[in-house]
């Protein structure tokens, strides 16, 4: 890897992250987590529930302070975040929600993102009228609209049914690959991690350390193209058409 390329990597080197508890005492959430992602690489973060996956994402995004260690975002530093809840402004319509986060986005790019996510007919809808699946898509559209250098996703498919999850996965991966966005996805599902990521990062229980960094050898295209995966998608298609 060349030196110029290094500044485009996401570098995470955390030695300690503690958060104050309601009792007042600080509690250590993360112990030793170090990894980096190359440009366009997709990492999946997996670990026991409550181990601090979300906190790690929040630390990378600068929403919580790191006690010891550092995080370096890829050069450019534009960060897209898809929270577990869609977190849309309920009093603004879909398009405004996206544009407020990405005031510099051009119309063509927004059109492409809305089309890729099947949101073209929902631009003027208000969040209260959207299903969870659609609201999630808006949150994803918002994160892509800023043309992120790094994209963080916190369980983007949690509590969606299988058919919807598979379709949304495809839409998301389509966008990530088309724009080769460095991405880090928190998930609790091993299947999902294997389907989406180039590397699976496994955290221990709290305080979390990185216990394994497993590369997925098969290119994603071939994973999607496996005969079983095709049947899975076909069945999902029938289910969601119903």
């Amino acid at each position: 890897m060349s030196r110029a390329g290094d500044s485009d990597r996401l570098e995470v080197a955390l030695e300690c992250l503690s958060l104050p508890q309601t009792s007042g005492a600080a509690r250590q959430i993360l112990a030793d987590v170090g990894f980096s992602l190359a440009p366009g690489e997709v990492g999946a973060l997996i670990g026991p529930s409550g181990c601090g996956k979300t906190t790690l994402l929040r630390a990378i995004a600068g929403l919580v302070g790191v006690t010891q260690g550092r995080v370096r975002l890829p050069s450019g530093g534009r960060l897209g975040f898809v929270f577990q809840e869609p977190r849309l402004l309920p009093w603004r319509d879909v398009e405004t929600n996206v544009r407020l986060a990405a005031p510099d986005a051009n119309d063509g790019d927004l059109d492409a993102i809305f089309t890729a996510l099947g949101l073209s007919d929902h631009r003027r809808d208000f969040p209260a009228s959207l299903s969870l699946g659609l609201a999630r898509r808006v949150a994803i559209a918002r994160a892509f609209a800023i043309r992120p250098d790094i994209l963080l996703l916190d369980e983007p498919f949690v509590s969606l049914d299988t058919a919807l999850t598979l379709r949304l996965r495809q839409e998301l991966m389509g966008l990530i690959e088309a724009r080769s966005v460095t991405s880090l996805i928190v998930t609790h599902s091993v299947d999902e991690a294997i389907a989406l990521a180039d590397r699976v990062l496994i955290l221990s229980s709290r305080p979390a350390r990185l216990i394994a960094d497993v590369p997925i050898p098969t290119p994603r295209r071939e994973r999607d193209g496996s005969r079983i995966a095709r049947v899975e998608v076909e069945i999902a298609g029938h289910l969601s058409a119903d």
């Binding site: 929403l63 977190r87 402004l89 309920p90 990405a102 005031p103 009228s129 800023i146």
Partner: protein, 248 residues
Amino acid sequence: MNYVVRIASLLLLLILWQIGSNHFGPRLLPPPMSVLAAVEEQARSGALFVNLGATLARVAASFALAISFGAVIGVLMGRHPALDRIADSWVVILLNLPALVIIVLAYVWIGLNEVAAISAVALNKLPNAIVTVREGARALDRQLDEVAQVFRMSPSVRARHLILPQLAPYLAAAARSGLSLVWKIVLVVELMGRSNGVGFEIGVAFQLFDIRLLLAYAIPFVIVMLAIETFLVQPFERHVARWRFRPA
């Protein structure tokens, strides 16, 4: 259907008024038609409009002052606990200070002038506006704050699209309760230290024991305030809450 009931109930009130007038005599309670004639006299001479205008101007000025200062102070107190701890007792004291005390002090300290009148009314409403808006500021959605932080939204975008829409229902509530409080206190302020306005005229009517004149000012004033409430305040409340009811 609602309107029919409302009109019927108002007609019933007029009938009771007429009966009461027959019973107590026109000096204590002049009949509706006589009051209407008095309203017409005051309107013809122009005095009604001059006085209504003066009162409304005072209502508008003190209302605007109280709501804007109340909003700013309320947001600051709601967002900064340290500030809240310091200023909270002051707000509580102001909240419990009788309107009359504030009015007298304002006239003594500032003088018998318009500035004193308007600040006295605004000060009476201010703590109430602060408390209401502070409640709204405390209820601001932290999750949306994080969205603004992550996506690096500018302070003006945050204020306009994030904070204001969340505060709007509280501002509407403060405005609504504020208006009814302000216009009542304005009359007292006028009675005590101004030489025009509805409150001043009512004071004159009191000294002359002229109930007819008193009602000739009171009733049009109530109608004007009801109209403002119905055609300005309520539509504003519906406007700020419109996104809640958006159909699927």
